[in-house]
């Protein structure tokens, strides 16, 4: 028998890596940050539902592998430093 799990029951060890779906593939629009305009308040980071915003020192930016394109970062950005742009083919 070729088993996938080392356990008898439905246990999972995060050390083997977390399960993730490529949720970036769902995206119909992408957030584009105007780095110079960013006021570095971090609210986009705090409010990203997927937790995919990272600090690029000059500004914050979404990692597109997971960004679902919800646009909440655009809504929350006090500086209007992020804009949504349609993905090609959407």
């Amino acid at each position: 028998m070729r088993f996938h799990s080392p356990f008898e029951g439905p246990w999972a060890d995060p050390e083997a890596g977390l399960f993730s779906v490529r949720s970036g593939d769902w995206r119909q629009q992408r957030p584009v940050a105007n780095g110079a305009r960013c006021c570095r308040c971090g609210l986009c980071f705090l409010y990203c539902p997927t937790g995919c915003i990272s600090d690029r020192v000059t500004h914050f930016e979404a990692e597109l592998e997971f960004c679902k394109g919800c646009g909440l970062c655009v809504y929350i950005c006090p500086a209007a430093a992020i804009a949504m742009r349609a993905e090609e083919g959407c």
Partner: protein, 408 residues
């Protein structure tokens, strides 16, 4: 020195402790006490309630150190028990009848996630119609639930089976929840002399839970318990569950051996055979009626009728190999059930036995006797009649496959 009559054949009280008069529930409570659980969570339900009360008495007296949770229902009782078990502890719960069905989702959850909790079922009829009387129907409602299920014949066996249940459940080769089942009133409220083993002897038999290897929920090594599973992995877990069931069945003999070495009382493994080897026909049952059937077998033997008895101790996994071996060469088998399977309209154990008997060559008659429902007494005369009927079937007499004892 001859062994006391209440002990199983050949048994000696190893620890030399004097037996005391305990009913089944109290015997169970002593069993639980000796197993040093970390948490007890149960909801009162007749006829299990005195077991719960006894445990709280132990707690009040300072004899029991377990956390006790006065849950608001059976679902929570089992859930709290499996919570502590998942977090590396040892838990106990107990229920009956509607309580069992009320915890049905947690019941299936516990086995499907392989949580080794131990739960007593003080067996009772299943409502409706409403009743609190004895029966085995509640157990039958969960027989396919993936738990290991042990069914006791005496109060001593209840106590001993609790110890065996933890040993079995927590074995790395098993990791399954275990039910210890005994009939309400007939055993739960029946007082018998019971030897309560010394704690040290139990401790030798039953390692503390921390010595067992299984995943433990906690921050030392964070893990997820109860993952969402689809497809092949689901099949894998089902396969492993069945394999664990198989291993649990095979392991009972070995554990009985260890139990005998540690505590001096032997049990016959998954099926207790009583004068079965040279019998012409075999009666099969489980639970308290086995005692009466043993008397009936003895009486028939005196008449020259070679009766024998197989008492199923382990209902799940079904000891099919043992049952097949005992049935081989017999001319007929009669199965006495304290429950009914709707649709089959026969007893539940009968269905199992009949399925096993399919492997016999030549085929032999298997008869279902249904009796003792809702606390009615499986009297000696009723069981003797059942045995005679089985014997006659073996000798070619035709008749119905199912007979309701006392009704027909």
């Amino acid at each position: 020195m001859a062994a006391p009559a209440y002990l199983p054949q050949g048994a000696q009280p190893a620890d030399g402790l004097a037996p005391r008069l305990l009913d089944g529930n109290k015997a169970a409570a002593y069993g639980v006490l000796l197993c040093r659980p970390d948490l007890i969570a149960a909801y009162p339900i007749t006829p299990q309630t005195p077991l719960l009360e006894q445990l709280y008495k132990f707690k009040a007296d300072g004899r029991l150190t377990a956390e006790t949770v006065e849950v608001e229902g059976e679902n929570s009782a089992l859930s709290a028990a499996l919570g502590v078990t998942v977090a590396g502890g040892r838990a106990f719960t107990a229920t009956s009848s509607m309580g069992l069905t009320f915890m049905y989702d947690a019941y299936l959850f516990a086995s499907g996630t392989r949580v080794p909790v131990v739960m007593v079922i003080a067996m009772r009829e299943q409502t409706a119609p409403t009743t609190v009387s004895c029966g085995q129907q509640d157990l039958m409602m969960v027989k396919e639930g993936g738990w290991v299920q042990l069914v006791c014949e005496s109060c001593q066996e209840i106590l001993d089976s609790i110890l065996v249940a933890y040993r079995l459940a927590e074995d790395p080769q098993v990791q399954l929840p275990v039910n210890v089942c005994y009939e309400g009133y007939y055993l739960s409220h029946l007082s018998e002399p019971v030897t309560v083993p010394a704690q040290e002897a139990v401790d030798r038999f039953l390692l503390p839970v921390r010595d067992k290897r299984r995943p433990v929920l906690g921050t030392e090594h964070p893990m997820t318990f109860g993952t969402y599973v689809v497809g092949e992995l689901y099949a894998e877990y089902r396969y492993k569950h069945c394999q664990a069931m198989e291993r649990a069945g095979g392991m009972l003999d070995a554990i009985d051996g260890e139990f005998r070495a540690a505590l001096g009382r032997p049990y016959g493994g998954a099926v207790e055979a009583y004068r079965a080897e040279d019998a012409e026909f075999l009666m099969v049952t489980m639970g308290s009626a086995a005692g009466t059937l043993k008397v009936v077998v003895d009486e028939l033997r005196k008449e020259g009728i070679a009766a024998g008895l197989a008492r199923v101790r382990m209902f799940r996994p079904l000891p099919a190999r043992e049952l097949l071996g005992l049935m081989r060469g017999k001319r007929a088998v009669g199965v006495v059930d304290r429950s009914v399977s709707f649709g089959w309209n026969r007893g539940h154990l009968f269905i199992d036995v009949k399925a096993v008997a399919q492997d016999l060559e030549p085929r032999i008659p298997v008869v279902s006797f249904i009796g003792g429902l809702a606390g009615t007494d499986l009297r000696r005369d009723l069981l003797a009649g059942a045995a005679r009927t089985t014997w006659e079937r073996g000798r070619g007499r035709a008749g119905a496959e199912v007979i309701w004892l006392g009704l027909e």
